[in-house]
């Protein structure tokens, strides 16, 4: 009994589990396997990095972990739900409620102000405007952008835009933040700021999955997965000092 209970508890601590994860792209008759059997487990509250050369499959893996895509074979279990069985609307719902995305190119909506951009995920979930504004304002303040609410992305620096994107990712209180090369388009000072914010979020209990090939960014990561040719080449645990 104790053993089963322990197993259950161990199960509970994993927020993401992948089992023999395959993703094969087809172009005509040629099949190109981007992922070839990935097994990984990510704990609640962990800060994970996935690194590897381009073409190693890190973006594909992130898309699967982010419920943007379905695997060709295998399973991705996010917070107890196997996403390969979900319909596209259910995936959207899951992304909206549990996940937050940060992209290399920020991907803000150009014709909206910073505040409006942060509100966007809340529009999808049907939160009333007053509450949206309030939450968005608080989050912009949290990422240090008080006073920039009305600015459009084109009126903000790269670092500021990425901070807006982080505020947007946080707005529905996600359990997991997925960041795809979040500092790829930033100078080193801004990049540092972004990593500090991510670190700070992690300390508050948010699970963070970072995809990068910049090894300067992985200092706060508990574990680093090295990807090569669609396989995990090695997994390195790191001691993180706060």
């Amino acid at each position: 009994m104790q053993l089963i209970e322990n197993l259950k508890n161990e199960e509970k601590q994993w927020i993401i589990t992948t089992i023999d994860l395959w993703k094969i792209y087809k172009s005509g008759k040629i099949e190109y396997p981007a992922l070839r059997g990935i097994n990984m487990k990510i704990r609640k509250g962990e800060f994970i990095a996935i690194v590897g050369p381009s073409g190693s499959g890190k973006s594909t893996l992130l898309n699967l972990l982010g419920a943007l895509d379905r695997p060709t074979k295998g399973k991705v279990i996010i917070d107890g739900t196997d996403i390969s069985k979900l319909k596209s609307n259910e995936l959207a719902e899951l992304r909206n409620k549990k996940l937050g995305f940060i992209f290399q190119t920020f991907n803000l909506i150009p014709y909206m102000s910073a505040l409006d951009n942060v509100e966007v995920p809340m529009i999808a979930s049907g939160i009333p405007p007053k509450e949206r504004k309030e939450r968005a304002r608080k989050l912009l303040e949290l990422v240090g952008l008080k006073g920039f609410e009305k600015n459009r992305p084109s009126e903000l620096s790269g670092g500021q835009q990425q901070k807006v994107a982080i505020a947007r990712a946080l707005v529905n209180n996600p359990q997991i933040i997925l960041a795809d090369e979040p500092t790829g388009n930033l100078d080193s000072k801004s990049a540092n700021e972004i990593i500090e914010i991510l670190h700070d979020l992690n300390k508050r209990g948010v699970t963070i999955i970072l995809v990068t090939h910049n090894l300067n960014l992985i200092k706060y990561c508990h574990r680093v997965f090295w990807l090569k040719d669609g396989l995990i080449e090695k997994e390195v645990e790191q001691n993180v000092k706060d």
Partner: protein
């Protein structure tokens, strides 16, 4: 997703591409305005003609010889009076004469009628000046308003109290103008404003004829018209053209109805073309915003949310275009009769120019056109919006 948010989003992305939005809206405006402007004309014309017809009364029957060899005389008048339920029989003579003005002459229609029946042939007429001719007077005429002062002249062509000459096939007669009518419009047979009128006997005498051009007949009630027509046909067979106001009204309605359909469908085609414009621009918009669609999907927007956002854009184009189109169409619709009477009055004889009408824009038409514009826009937006909603988020996010 809340409805107001969808609507606001559509409005916002249209505002972001102002010129493009304006051009697409313009397409809908043109289509809607064309339908309103054209259909209201034919409806106005129809109503006006039917109104003129009904002035004569629905119990009126008009008889004319079917061929020149058939002549109508007093004998026929008496015979028709014998038919049951016939209340009145009014013979008239119409012809074309030349009338001399101060400096020039004009061809006009002359109508000979007994003055006591004048008010039945032209119900509700009003004299602008003078009086009617008398039954036994052989030289008195009354002139229509366009003969008094044709539209192409700035001063009167003829005046009441004046003496002038009329001429038909080299026969001339001196006549006194004793009265002038107010503008009237048309009746079933006579373009009142462009005609001159004299006593039936006087005209018969002048033209040297004993037969009548046509006979108006009034039955005691509209209900017996068909019965009387049957009786007339029994006597005359196919020798007479029998027209009833009822029939004419039906014919006019069906002709203008067809015209309405024709013009309406031409205008509707322009609305469909506008729809193609919307579709085109929506496709461009979907492609341009591929990445945005990917981001929205990543942030948790469902397929139907994306569909709604893009459809709302098309819908807003339809709503704005529809409203502006209805306003502009209404304005054009009221200007059109003036332009038409101006150009026609210049290029044709005065015959048609006296025909005036007020365009009719029915509320049902406005509502129909409004929803038609929205429906066309939504239909045009549906396919591009669907394409946007079905986009694979991974592919969309990779889009440069």
């Amino acid at each position: 997703m809340r409805f107001t948010d969808i609507f606001k989003w559509g409005l916002r992305s249209l505002r972001e591409r102002k010129l493009r939005a304006i051009l697409t809206i313009l397409g809908i405006v043109v289509g809607t305005a064309a339908i309103i402007a054209l259909v209201s004309q034919t409806e106005g014309i129809q109503a006006s003609i039917i109104e003129q017809m009904n002035k004569l009364g629905p119990n009126t029957i008009l008889l004319r010889p079917a061929s020149p060899s058939i002549i109508l005389t007093d004998k026929d008048v008496n015979r028709l009076l014998q038919i049951p339920n016939v209340e009145l029989v009014i013979p008239i003579i119409t012809s074309s004469v030349k009338i001399y003005g101060i400096q020039s002459s004009r061809n006009v229609q002359i109508v000979g009628i007994d003055p006591s029946k004048f008010g039945i042939l032209i119900p509700g007429y009003e004299l602008r000046e003078g009086r009617l001719f008398q039954t036994l007077s052989y030289s008195e005429i009354v002139i229509g308003s366009n003969v008094y002062k044709p539209q192409d002249l700035t001063s009167p062509f003829l005046n009441v109290g004046q003496t002038t000459t009329i001429e038909s096939r080299s026969t001339r007669m001196i006549v006194n103008i004793v009265g002038c009518l107010e503008p009237y419009g048309m009746t079933a047979l006579v373009s009142v404003d462009d005609s001159i009128f004299m006593s039936l006997k006087a005209l018969a005498n002048f033209l040297g004829r004993t037969s009548y051009s046509a006979i108006f007949l009034k039955t005691i009630s509209p209900d017996v018209v068909d019965e009387v027509v049957d009786n007339i046909r029994a006597i005359y067979g196919n020798n007479l053209n029998i027209l009833t106001v009822k029939q004419i009204t039906q014919i006019v309605s069906s002709v203008t109805g067809m015209l309405t359909m024709l013009l309406g469908s031409i205008a509707a085609i322009s609305l469909f073309v506008a729809g193609l414009g919307i579709m085109n621009i929506m496709f461009v918009s979907v492609i341009e915003r591929t990445r945005e669609i990917g981001v929205l999907k990543a942030l948790g927007f469902k397929d139907r949310n994306i569909l709604a956002i893009f459809l709302s854009e098309a819908g807003i184009v339809g709503i704005i275009g529809g409203i502006i189109g209805i306003i502009i169409g209404s304005i054009i619709s009221y200007i059109m009769p003036h332009i038409m009477s101006f150009t026609i009055g210049r290029s044709f004889s005065a015959q048609i120019s006296s025909f005036s009408y007020t365009p009719i824009i029915r509320p049902e038409m406005i509502i129909f056109v409004f929803f038609f514009a929205i429906a066309v826009s939504l239909l045009a937006g549906l396919y591009p919006a669907r394409r946007a909603s079905k986009m694979d988020p991974v592919v969309a996010l990779r889009h440069e």
